[in-house]
């Protein structure tokens, strides 16, 4: 019933740091089933963020295959990759990454500018997304006028508005207090359970990982939790 939404085969990735080449991932193979809520955990430098970036299509592996919904995204050009991201991926960042000069409404509307929808259609969608995250009454506020938790909710609304296949979250609760963090995680939970969104989350917070259904551990670029890579849960 559930296929593999992400299939990673033998990918390697290194970075150049001050003249030295530092390998981060080498020969990693990994699957993510559709509709899953996965948490990637590990110490700093383990490669979890790198892996997330590769899955999201904002970085390219040095070698190997990376299939998302059957398409090997390593073969796409930069321009095609950009188009692909717009329709397939929703981003949630640790520091929200909202545009300071746009209101909550306008921030959520931003990805819609990449579509051919009319203004009215865009606004309808934004209204729905705002409602989903419970911020309709704050839609004309600027990020500086919102709390951390509220800003992250705006970011989530932005992430889901294009109805993406996959939601990637990089330390989504890293900058929030306990109450707001719980809020956000519950929201992600709902998205996963009620809307069937596949979520891949990188976190170092144990409590956050508990909200996920599947937890994988990475250390020095390798999965260390002993789970066979192609096993389905």
């Amino acid at each position: 019933m559930t296929g593999k939404i992400v299939e990673i085969r033998h990918i390697a990735k290194s970075y150049r740091r001050g003249g030295q080449i530092v390998p981060v991932l080498s020969d990693l193979s990994f699957d993510i089933p559709e509709g899953e809520f996965v948490a990637l955990m590990g110490p700093s430098g383990s490669g979890k963020s790198t892996l997330l970036n590769l899955i999201a299509g904002i970085d390219k592996p040095d070698s190997g295959e990376l299939r998302v919904a059957g398409l090997d995204i390593t073969t796409l050009s930069e321009a095609d990759l950009a188009d692909w991201r717009a329709t397939h991926i929703g981003f949630i960042f640790q520091f929200y990454n909202l545009m300071p000069v746009l209101t909550a409404f306008e921030n959520i509307e931003l990805p819609m500018l990449l579509t051919r929808l009319s203004r009215r259609q865009r606004r309808e969608r934004v209204g729905l997304a705002l409602d989903m995250v419970g911020l309709t009454d704050r839609m004309d506020h600027y990020p500086s006028e919102l709390s951390g938790g509220q800003q992250q909710r705006v970011a989530i609304a932005r992430a889901i508005i294009s109805d993406p296949l996959l939601i990637v979250a990089d330390e989504p609760t890293g900058d929030l207090d306990r109450v707001s963090a719980a809020d956000i995680l519950n929201l992600l939970d709902r998205l996963n359970r009620e809307m069937g969104k596949t979520i891949v989350m990188v976190t170092h917070d144990q409590r956050a990982a508990e909200h996920a259904r599947l937890v994988r551990h990475l250390d020095k670029g390798e999965l260390t939790d002993g789970e066979p890579s192609s096993k389905t849960l």
């Binding site: 970036n53 999201a56 904002i58 970085d59 321009a79 950009a82 188009d83 692909w84 991201r85 717009a86 329709t87 981003f91 960042f93 520091f95 990454n97 545009m99 300071p100 000069v101 746009l102 306008e106 509307e109 931003l110 990805p111 500018l113 990449l114 932005r158």
Partner: protein, 385 residues
């Protein structure tokens, strides 16, 4: 519309920085406009020269005069409609600072040759009847408060002594580019006085002004005139009025070139300032550009945001600068008095100001645009503020 909104709000993010940059552009565009107007004013005489007037002078230099006897011979040359003559007087009015051009002319024929000097008929008649009368241009009259009936004293330098004239007419220019800073009086008055005081200098003219029927005959007629007087006591050199005026410009060419160079320098200075502003601004927003790229926007969109912001700032400053150029030019012209008889801000100057502003905006956005367009998303995201 959405992105226009985004660009505009971005310019207002750092009000102080944007404000200062706009101020800098305002000053630079204003200075640029003024300097170009000065350069154009230099060429004003040549611009308003007539294609049917020739100037004949002594071939050695303007310092030497020509005999009055030449007049009839020039008039007989084919294609010549009318001949007049003028002597540069070079007198001092009160002090050297009050410089303005003074010419002793054969009034009737001279004013016929310069139809762009408009004089009311009754004033013209009064001037022609009074041998010590003079005609002054409107600009000159305004600067020194000359009115009909005033007695004006000039201290001679080339023609020594104190000379008195009565203002009989004030002429207006037919066009904005006509020189109305001149002082014209009767050659007869000069000549009769010279016959008494320094006879050997009498019966001479500085230049002949030759009116011709058809402008395309100018070169030919000029050569004919010069041929007529070759190997005589005073050989002549005849050229079109435009060439004559350009000759003066050419003599101070170095200064004009220097001013032109400086006018472009000011654009480079403001380009450096603006490039700095845009570089700082773009660097601070790298994470935002990376976010947009992550969301799926292409590099062109990102570049257009930066370019848009740069152009908005540039045009804001430029608009203010262009508008201010007019009143400042007027003030400057008033201060310069008769040094620049014609000092108008031209259409071409305004166009150049706008082009300069757009260029500054575009160039300033170059490097930041390149950086933002090519930054790897992961690197940009890591860049916090």
């Amino acid at each position: 519309m959405y992105f226009a909104k985004l660009v505009l709000r971005n310019t207002l993010r750092h009000k102080l920085r944007t404000g200062l940059t706009v101020l800098g552009l305002f000053v630079a565009i204003l200075a640029f406009g003024l300097l170009r107007t000065v350069v154009e004013a230099w060429f004003a005489g040549a611009e308003s020269a007539s294609t049917t007037r020739l100037i004949t002078r002594n071939s050695i230099s303007l310092v030497f005069s020509l005999p009055i006897a030449y007049q009839d011979r020039i008039r007989q040359i084919g294609g010549v409609t009318r001949v007049s003559h003028a002597n540069w007087f070079g007198g001092i009015y009160v002090s050297e600072k009050n410089f303005f051009p003074q010419f002793a002319v054969d009034a009737k024929s001279y004013l016929d040759l310069y139809p762009e000097y408009l004089i009311p008929p009754e004033q013209l008649k009064a001037f022609l009847l009074d041998r010590k009368g003079c005609t002054v241009g409107r600009k000159l009259a305004d600067i020194h408060g000359f009115k009909i009936g005033d007695v004006v004293q000039l201290r001679g330098t080339i023609f020594p002594g104190t000379w008195e004239f009565v203002v009989r007419a004030v002429y207006d220019g037919a066009e904005a580019a006509t020189d109305t800073s001149q002082f014209l009086f009767h050659w007869d008055y000069l000549n009769e006085t010279l016959k008494q005081t320094v006879p050997r200098r009498a019966n001479t003219v500085g230049v002949y002004v030759v009116g011709i029927e058809q402008s395309n005959q100018a070169a030919e007629i000029g050569r004919e005139i010069d041929r007529t007087f070759r190997n005589s006591l005073a050989e002549t050199l005849t050229e079109t009025e435009k060439a004559f005026q350009l000759g003066f410009v050419a003599m101070t060419e170095a200064i004009v070139i220097a001013i032109e160079v400086v006018s472009f320098l000011v654009i480079f200075i403001i380009m450096a300032v603006m490039a700095n502003t845009m570089a700082m601004t773009a660097r601070e927003r790298l994470a935002e550009y990376a976010t947009m790229k992550a969301l799926g926007f292409g590099p062109i969109r990102v570049v257009s945001l930066i370019l848009g912001e740069s152009l908005v700032i540039a045009l804001a400053g430029a608009t203010a600068g262009v508008l201010a150029t007019f009143p400042v030019a007027e003030w400057f012209a008033a201060k310069m008095g008769t040094l620049f008889p014609v000092f108008n801000v031209s259409q071409q100057t305004v166009t150049m100001q706008i082009v300069a502003a757009v260029t500054v905006g575009a160039v300033a956005a170059l490097l930041p645009s390149y950086r933002a367009a090519t930054v790897r998303i992961v690197d940009g995201l890591r860049n916090i503020g």
